[in-house]
Point group: C2
Chain length 366, copies 2
């Protein structure tokens, strides 16, 4: 595994714009574009949603780079456990107390929780006010900031209340990554790996050259990775079919993530997904015809980047039970996305419980 | 004023379909259409939202007319005071407990509260499941069932959390009106009167022939009234401009409704709107050139149908203060929709506080 290092992003003056059907994602040196865009609008005020971390580490940068007169800051506590209806009630109440009108702009400055929940509150305040996403974690930059999924956890089920609404724009600056712990960067990288495996073998080749996370030019990986997600979500915005390709690694990954929550070492989402991808790569070899050499190459790469997670074979039945509760299943059958080849996914795949156990054993023994 | 009578709707075998851009409204004898449509879908289950009244008076009719196997009933308490986030939490929890999946159909059987709040819960459960509206009050049939506005009251402000989402279909049966108190019918009629005044002078003429509410063929009034609302909301779905014509009578009406809430005799929405329309008709004569004979004709008609509401001139300042808090105002100026002529509205009109006081005095002294 790559040694932990202090992460330093590459500063660049380049900005790339990804055009989606109804909005744009700007990646790289976003500040001029953001300033110009704000100037061209006529928002009555700016509301910035932060948590204690993004208030301390990201808000100063945003404030320094862009003119936001009389900003109204709404601060919530960081963490998935606060992504719930109580926090929404707090956010709506702040908006009401400050008499934010329909012409206000809501700015989500943070990771996935801020983007998902802040977007949900903005999209439902007075039947919807404009919002933009300024994701500050690698995971949010590459994944949750695109696709229009907004929402909160409800009754112990992740993202079970929410809706699809697109932001006005998404602004992605790798500068924010400088404030992130190495472990968060590694976690976010897992979704880039996934995007390469399901749809971009060229990106996959590029990823092979990663040896030190502090030497990575993130903008150059974010753009092709976002292009993959864009193609997938635009072909199936409401997740009726092809969008399920994005679930690669997530069926076993989500089970590991839930399982680890109850242990002294909870996993970050990307850490769980990395382990899940390795298991589902093995399954793809067993049931979907993925070439043995590709199985090996993917396994090698993942274990070079990620610590192996430890769990006991005694936990296999619990893990399989968790997979059976996945909201994407139908008729009680666990629904997998697998690989036929690198870059070629297959949706709606199934296998036996024994196959799943073998994949978990493969992971532990590899 | 017309004497109170027991209301009996006209049963008819005719069904009229109003085509909107993305869905249809069926009015009249809807049962065959509803049954056929349900048969043609493949919903995994049916969830019916009711309150204690519609469970007792409307659900038996629906159940008798249409085959809905294994219905899941969610019952909430009737009344605007329950249109809040707590009731939403209860509804979402019921859906989760019953493991309703994304392929369930949510059926709103009730008045405006059921339609607005049930639609909001359906549109946000698992990022949105299909729902249909079966409005059972005249007010909901003619008004809130069309236009896609969904939501709840929050922090003492009506409809301040919500969104725009269209139902799969709306089914309007005048048979449900048979279960309504006379006062509710009279209240609903106010929105039909409004639709005629802002956009359909022919419908206005037709309304002149109403002398007994129990002799009215409601389907024949609902259809042209819905056609008016359809034209308005389709020309401006997000209420940026022309949709404001629907606010005629509502600026003063909402103030009277809020004011009366704190008195021993709260007003129904339509009762307040009827009084508001009379005042705003007078204002239209003062500031927007509405012909004096039309002012008189509208005043005569409203006072023939509706009891005059009693309030003291001492409450005028309170009423004007309430108008100034209206969410549709801009720059502290009260925003009125007025009439230039019957069928010809003017949006974004303003007047002096003295004009408003005169209109209230006119109402009281007429």
């Amino acid at each position: 595994m790559i040694d932990d290092v202090v992460f330093v992003s590459n500063k660049t003056n380049i900005m790339t714009t990804i055009e989606l059907a109804s909005y744009q994602i700007h990646v790289g040196n976003i500040w001029g574009e953001l300033e110009n865009w704000l100037q061209a609008q006529s928002y009555s005020r700016y509301i910035i949603l932060v948590d204690e971390n993004t208030r301390a580490y990201c808000w100063p940068l945003l404030q320094q780079k862009v003119n936001l007169p009389n900003p109204q800051i709404i601060e919530i506590r960081s963490g998935e456990q606060h992504k719930n209806i109580h926090t929404c009630t707090y956010i709506w109440k702040q908006l009401m107390d400050e008499k934010a009108d329909r012409n206000a702009l809501f700015i989500n400055l943070g990771g996935g929780v801020i983007g998902d929940m802040g977007g949900f509150c903005a999209a439902t305040y007075k039947r919807g006010i404009d919002f933009i996403q300024i994701p500050t974690t690698l995971l949010a930059q590459v994944d949750s900031s695109i696709g229009g999924k907004l929402g909160i956890d409800f009754g112990d089920v992740k993202n079970s209340v929410g809706l699809f609404t697109n932001p006005q724009k998404v602004f992605i600056s790798p500068e924010f990554l400088e404030t992130l712990p190495e472990r968060e960067i590694r976690s976010g990288l897992a979704e880039i790996v996934k995007h390469s495996l399901i749809a971009d073998s060229e990106l996959w080749q590029k990823l092979q050259s990663i040896h030190q996370l502090n030497a990575v030019d993130w903008a150059s990986l974010l753009v092709p990775s976002l292009e993959v997600k864009k193609r997938v979500v635009e072909s199936d915005p409401l997740e009726k079919s092809w969008r399920k390709t994005l679930n690669f690694g997530h069926t076993i990954g989500h089970a590991l993530e839930s399982w680890a929550l109850a242990t002294p070492q909870p996993l970050l989402h990307g850490e769980a997904v990395a382990a899940g991808m390795l298991c589902e790569t093995y399954l793809s070899g067993t049931v979907s015809g993925l070439d043995r050499h590709e199985v090996e190459a993917i396994s090698d790469f993942i274990l070079r980047i990620y610590n192996k997670q430890r769990f006991d074979p005694a936990s296999f039945p619990t893990l399989i039970e968790l997979m059976k509760n996945d909201k994407k299943n139908q008729d009680g059958q666990i629904n997998f996305t697998m690989l036929q080849a690198i870059g070629t996914p297959l949706i709606n795949q199934s296998c036996t419980d024994q196959d799943i156990e073998q994949s978990l054993t493969y992971y532990l023994e590899r």
